[in-house]
Symmetry: C2
Subunit: 260 residues, 2 copies
DNA sequence: ACATGCAATCCCACATCATGGGAAGCAAGT
DNA sequence: ACTTGCTTCCCATGATGTGGGATTGCATGT
């Protein structure tokens, strides 16, 4: 389940790929994982999982609870994460998102693409949804990231399963493709209860100069807040925020020209 | 230079350790690194560096500038970093630090230990010093982390070089040991121009129930702000903040009892 | 235009290094 | 006391990562 992340790349790797898969194991849920847990999840022998964990431990990418001997993400991850967070300028996004959330009364989320997932990297609410990983096909954020995907990242054909979360989730690849055509045509994505009931989301892209989505910006609330009448206004607000984020997050060379 | 991080651990690793070293390369300086750069820094063959980079790329831990083909930290790092940041509750620390900074007029920094470095993970100022990595022996933060080091992390003997940054930097292991005795006795660390001229820093630990420092909290300013008369007051403020952080960052089971 | 240098990328034979089975040691549950 | 499940270490096997070299492409300098 956790291994579709690193599907390809047959050349010269295995230990490394497995070690990185170990790190990715720590997304899913809360508590610390034991070496045996890791072995089970990744379908490795206990020996191998244990050895990988020890190596990651020695490099600070994992740390071990002294009581339970279980592993969790270590200081090196926090360290590199903070570094890349600032390198991307994401700390500049928080005030903009907070402002958008306040004006609209909704939750504002900024996500980027990581392989087959949309990852929320900054949020306009206090709720720590940040760090959350959502599938691309069942979220407005994901649809935006797919609709304007960079060639190297792979389009919708690169994500085989398409699991259903509600009865509205798009599971047919053809239906997803059609939806993406609509998203590109209307320049926004809508998610109406496709990942969870009672949640409606609008998302717009943060585009770079080449026309690809570097980030996706979402406004999320209950359906009563995101009505047909308010949609146009919400989109205007969201697009204005996305425009601001283009300036804040992208270097001048990466940005698209001011006039469209 | 960048390799003292992963000194030991002879058993069952190499590819993995090297790959993690590649990630650690992205601390030091700003711009993206080419595969050849990595090979030079880590003293690897270009083939190997290139292969490791491609593997990390495939897993999303690196990304490649389409123009220059150089590498930088990828979305998976941002993703895992945000996750571990929130798992550690570090987003709760920012308001406390801002408050401390405002009350004292100084800069407030929170750091944790990552191998032989103190890493600033949250700051009370707008200045993005966050993510910065400082040596343990030449900073107040580092002295605190060393003085109350957890057994598994290694004491001062685990960091061989001790480079000098100013004429005041402690370079003798014996002198550092003596300084740590003083730090433990007085329950705070002082750095008076040992890492850079014209900067004075006070640091206190954020202790867990076992008496080890989980974090270090520093108040940093010009010497004119941190005078002998103000030291006691600044320490009271800092310790009060550290106490609050103990509650915010540590689970009840990890905390030490309220009364000392 | 041509030569030169540097870097990315790919290929392949070799032997080093990761692999997983096994077993010892420990803790907790039945 | 017996069982269960875990961490941890050891070790023979061969799969896997290694680095030299060849190729291509993109600059820069002449």
């Amino acid at each position: 389940m956790t291994e579709a992340v690193t599907a390809r790349a047959p050349g010269g790797a295995q230990a490394v790929r497995r070690a990185l898969d170990v790190l990715h194991c720590f997304h899913d849920n809360g508590p610390d994982l034991s070496a045996s847990d890791l072995a089970r999840r990744l379908e490795l022998s206990v020996s191998t999982a244990h050895r990988l964990a020890r190596t990651l431990l020695g490099a600070g990418f994992l740390e071990q609870d002294p009581r339970t001997a279980r592993y969790r993400l270590g200081p090196a991850v926090t360290e590199l994460g903070r570094l890349s967070y600032h390198q991307r300028g994401l700390h500049l996004a928080a005030p903009e998102l907070a402002d958008l959330a306040e004006r609209t009364g909704a939750t504002a989320d900024l996500a980027l693409r990581s392989g087959p997932h949309a990852v929320i990297v900054a949020g306009g609410s206090v709720t720590p949804k940040v760090g959350l990983r959502r599938p691309l096909h069942s979220t407005a954020l994901g649809k935006v990231l797919l609709a304007w995907a960079r060639p190297g990242d792979g389009g919708p054909e690169s994500l085989p399963p398409l699991p259903a979360f509600t009865d509205r989730t798009i599971v047919e690849p053809a239906a997803l493709e059609a939806e993406l055509v609509r998203v590109r045509a209307e320049a926004y994505a809508l998610n109406d209860g496709e990942s969870a009931h009672g949640v409606r989301t609008l998302a717009v892209p943060v585009l770079d100069g080449a026309g690809y989505a570097r980030f996706a910006l979402a406004v999320r609330a209950t359906p009563s807040l995101i009505t047909a009448e308010r949609t146009e206004w919400l989109l205007t607000e969201a697009r204005s925020c996305a425009r601001a984020l283009e300036v804040l997050l992208l270097s001048p060379a990466e940005r698209r020209p001011p006039a469209r």
